[in-house]
Subunit: 263 residues, 2 copies
DNA sequence: CGTTATCTTGACCACATTCAACTTGAGTGG
DNA sequence: CCACTCAAGTTGAATGTGGTCAAGATAACG
């Protein structure tokens, strides 16, 4: 198959940050043109992952930071007895590999949900990148804080919320993040399986399935296999906020609307 | 006793980092004597907190980093409808206030579990401290990674584990961390209430209480009020790892105790 | 076209919550 | 010092949410 020009050979010229479609979402978005050129130099060739393939696994030594260029991945941790917990889903522009631990090893595993590509950012010690590109430090820290905030929210979701609230949270979260990425907030292609969703939310697959059909019967969404369409996002928000109905919501002032957690 | 020297007036000389009892646990542990002197200068007076008082609350602007000098605190996040989830407990030496979010506001609230004191590390932007003390950056990052790792583990605990595994995890975690702080690993003073423990583990208070008495009847621990004594730490580890315990569980009623293990 | 993975739906039931009563200890004031 | 109050914790019984088991439907794939 495809003899003289294998697609696996990266075309560096076509892969520069300058012409990257995900540039505004990327860590490098804060750099000017000159800096971008230098940044481009330290970016390795883009690696490609097929569905099910792992970028790295828990226990691997941390040698690089990755930026997801296209596609989507899930990250998960495992317990001693093999239990696994999905800790997050990531889309293009997201930084992957910051969950390092003391001994410079990854604590989580990153697995592609579909064919995906990542830009590799090699470094020997963490401050190397920030000394070369001081501007990136703030950017990186913001991303780290965002992740911590997300994890804290998940602790709240997993620790306190009922199954329907969890699923509402998941749909709202995915919707908001995909729309940040310039994709439709209401027409969503779920790249993860029901199993993944259930695992992420601490539920059984059957429960997720049942709730999806329940939401569907309520006229809030439709789901056909992996295609999710949101009709009534306010209703989802009300389920998540545990409001009785979505009509009289505005009357009761939501004081810290500004303080809402990342969705 | 000691009337002429009110304890509320901070005695700066007596409070220098040099003579701090928690120095090896502190962020400053990596600094040499000269650096420590300079570090000492930017540390404000030690603030004191009584039980129930908050160091800062979610929504407050981040102006400082804190290092817990003595005592213990809990941190928690809240949802729109008032649900709260305790995200962690912290002891002396721990860094408090790194869970910042995009807009430079705290996402969580820190509340003292007992009379505690903190050292304040003011900064206007995050990189100020790391440029003045480059050595601290690695130290700080290690702490951040540790926190992220802890949060991921909690997602696993909350999402996948049964009540007894959760409690076993809590006891093991507290034990290990207190022993890192030079305290006894087996003789533990619980500064948090049962409510706090239950909330942290995503359980009802009654469940925690029942499990504590069950562990006690199994001969693994004793609990008297806030005093927890661990007799068989291996048994706790086995419960956490979901191994068949080497101690015959069946001896104490609860036949189904062996059956509710997930396969 | 058959095989397999993914998803849905139903029936049952267990774990943990909820509700409620009671015990214990700490703090307060007479 | 005791009586009182209130918060914290324990224990029992009933209820229910969500898990497990099992079977069937649908889509994906070689």
């Amino acid at each position: 198959m495809s003899a003289n020009k294998p697609i696996t050979v990266p075309n560096k010229a076509a892969n520069t940050c300058k012409v990257c479609h995900a540039r505004e979402l990327c860590l490098s978005s804060c750099l000017n043109e000159d800096e971008l050129n230098r940044f481009d130099d330290i970016i390795g060739d883009r690696a490609s992952l097929n569905r099910g393939e792992c970028l790295f696994m828990a226990g691997n030594k941390i040698k690089s930071l990755f930026i997801l260029h296209s596609g989507s991945v899930k990250t998960y941790v495992e317990s001693a007895d093999g239990d696994m917990q999905i800790t997050g889903f990531h889309f293009s522009g997201d930084i992957i590999g910051i969950h390092g631990i003391e001994n410079s090893m990854h604590g989580d595993t990153v697995e592609a949900l579909e064919t995906s590509s990542v830009c590799e950012l090699r470094f020997t010690s963490l401050d190397e990148i920030t000394t070369v590109f001081p501007k990136l430090q703030d950017q990186l820290m913001q991303y780290i804080f965002r992740e911590m905030c997300h994890e804290q929210t998940m602790m709240l979701v997993l620790g306190k919320m009922s199954a329907d609230r969890r699923l509402a949270h998941f749909i709202l979260d995915i919707s908001a993040r995909l729309s940040e990425h310039g994709l439709s907030a209401t027409n969503i292609n779920l790249t993860m399986t029901r199993h993944d969703i259930a695992n992420y939310l601490g539920l059984a697959v059957e429960t997720v399935s049942r709730l999806l059909t329940r939401f569907q019967k309520m006229g809030i969404i439709t789901v056909q296999r992996r295609l999710l369409t949101i009709f009534d996002i306010d209703a989802l928000q009300d389920i998540y906020d545990q409001n009785e109905s979505h009509i009289p919501k505005a009357s009761i002032g939501k004081l810290n609307a500004a303080n809402h957690m990342r969705l």
